[in-house]
Symmetry: C2
Subunit: 214 residues, 2 copies
Amino acid sequence: MKPAVILLSGGIDSTTTLAIALAEGYDAYPLSFDYGQRHQIETQAARRIADSLGAKEHRVATIDLRVFGGSALTDHIDVPKHRSEKEIGHGIPVTYVPARNTVFLAYALAWAEVISAADIFLGVNAIDYSGYPDCRPEFVDAINYAVGLATGEAVVIEAPFSNMDKNEIAALAVRLNVPIGLTWSCYEGDTDPCRKCGACVERSQALSSVKAVA
Amino acid sequence: MKPAVILLSGGIDSTTTLAIALAEGYDAYPLSFDYGQRHQIETQAARRIADSLGAKEHRVATIDLRVFGGSALTDHIDVPKHRSEKEIGHGIPVTYVPARNTVFLAYALAWAEVISAADIFLGVNAIDYSGYPDCRPEFVDAINYAVGLATGEAVVIEAPFSNMDKNEIAALAVRLNVPIGLTWSCYEGDTDPCRKCGACVERSQALSSVKAVA
């Protein structure tokens, strides 16, 4: 069995990415982050998902991006409600954490090197990337090339949703029997999802689209 | 004044890099890391250097690469003595921390984005890179390109020592009046340098070469 590191936030996209890696026969090493987000509910969801799907080993790395400030997800400013991330202002949404995916991929690379994994799975999607610049496929391609040079080994970043939108991912999640009830998408930190933030709205739309087709 | 992030370990190379950034007229934002190394002496040295040279703002980001293990600098295994890093085994030295520079650069990128810095200074040297794969100029070029895509802004990684060896860097440090007494190179964590580890031996050779020329 080949080992692979899977970036696992605990949402539908990354959980489906984990399911894909397992379906492809990888030994799964999901990696989550406690990065000063205002709630721990994401990492708890990730733990339950990793257990439930039979991951080989799950790690939660503690990183502190608050040292730099600069985002609603780590600062103490309000998360905007009632609208999709994409509608907020022009360009980069306020829930953007600076260089977050770059930091996450660097950590994934570190673990991949330690366990001799040649593959890192990343659940970003190109079409519906909500304005985060480090989710763009050009970025994934470029970091892929750098990553190969960084380790002296060929490490490949697999981004299976590069050409999928949220609805297609939700449909795939259902086909792969992803435990959607264990996933968490909400940007707010309550015990129940707020159903109002951009992440909740997008999740609900995607899951509705699956039901509409079924 | 243009802001720049400077990766500052507290050794001669990164301190000289900070001096270069200041000499070029940048507002300097040095960034150091507490990454589970076995001693805090490095970050203390970095703080003193940042103060002494007149940095605008110094940050120490706490990151925990121990979560993955895999290196003498973060694990509890002995650091080899009496020999240069390059002589140990074939290829990558045991003091290599997996993907360390990649992680450091990702953090630098995060801070650069928050303070709108278009430049990140990195004190790696190409000729004498001691076998760390993520110090190679090909890596710096590739990550440079990825970094530009990650933020949607043009961020450039400056590696002024790409073509310098340790002796040339030491000579430049002296020319720029770098406070060499404040720097720390030793891999061991005592109050005085061990004078035996690879880093101590290289430091001593480089400083001797400057005296020999002078």
